[in-house]
Amino acid sequence: MSAPKIGVVACSGECCGEGTISRIATRFVLEKLRSDNTVTICLPLFSIGEKGERMFAKSFPTISVDGCGKKCAKFTIEKYSGKTTRSIVVSDQLEKWGMKNRSPRRELNGEGLEAASKIAEEIVTAMDEILMSR
């Protein structure tokens, strides 16, 4: 029997370092932390893709990972596919942890990578809560 899957979708916003953190944190979860339980999708596919992409949030409990308070990933998923199960916003989390992001958006420095690791742990915690509630 295959492991239960949870969708994790990052905004990957290009404007700011928080968008890069959302992307790298999601990749950490996909590659290292919960590779058996995680599925993802490129955000633009929700609007330009076929019906299959739009079934994503109906098929999997989905966590949106946004860089900033505009919450593009969350709103896009909910507009085209279905309600998100959890929403994580990098800028809100950094503020909560008293962390500042001074990392370049192109390539995260040590501070940015530390933030991405903490966001990845936050995603994993949310995943575990979802899995336990099912």
Partner: protein, 138 residues
């Protein structure tokens, strides 16, 4: 938002393959180094989410789409929104011309990924020059 003659570059930033990371890195190379001041970006996700200011920006500025794969997410998103799209680039096309540069690393680019990013960025920079020399603003 940027000056009206600034070219806005939109990478797909696809998350499932190295191509998305390459097009994202190449875009930063152009806007932060190669053609700094002549080019800029804003979040593709803002367009996908329907942000009004971002949509107005792509209608009033020349835009490049930079896609990783043949889904052409950035190009199609810009076309749907009626953007002033003046050029489209694809990582897979650059790879076809440089088959020895196969890249597999997604989260952080490997050496081949960096080489592909450099080639793509140089193509975009050349296109910026061609457009600006021809005086094309629309």
């Amino acid at each position: 938002m940027s000056e009206s003659n600034t070219i806005l570059i939109f990478p797909c930033s696809g998350i499932g393959k190295s191509f998305g990371t390459i097009c994202r890195d190449a875009t930063y190379s152009v806007i932060e180094e190669l053609r700094k001041g002549e080019t800029d970006t804003t979040c593709l996700s803002l367009l996908v989410a329907g942000d009004g200011a971002a949509i107005r920006a792509v209608k009033s500025h020349r835009c490049f789409s930079v896609d990783g794969c043949t889904n052409d997410c950035a190009q199609k998103t810009l076309e749907i929104l009626g953007a002033k799209l003046v050029a489209n680039f694809r990582v897979v096309d650059i790879l076809r011309e440089n088959r020895e540069l196969k890249s597999t690393s997604i989260t952080f680019l490997d050496e081949n990924g960096r080489k592909l990013s450099t080639l793509l960025a140089e193509k975009m920079a050349q296109k910026v020059d061609d457009l600006n020399q021809s005086g094309a603003v629309s």
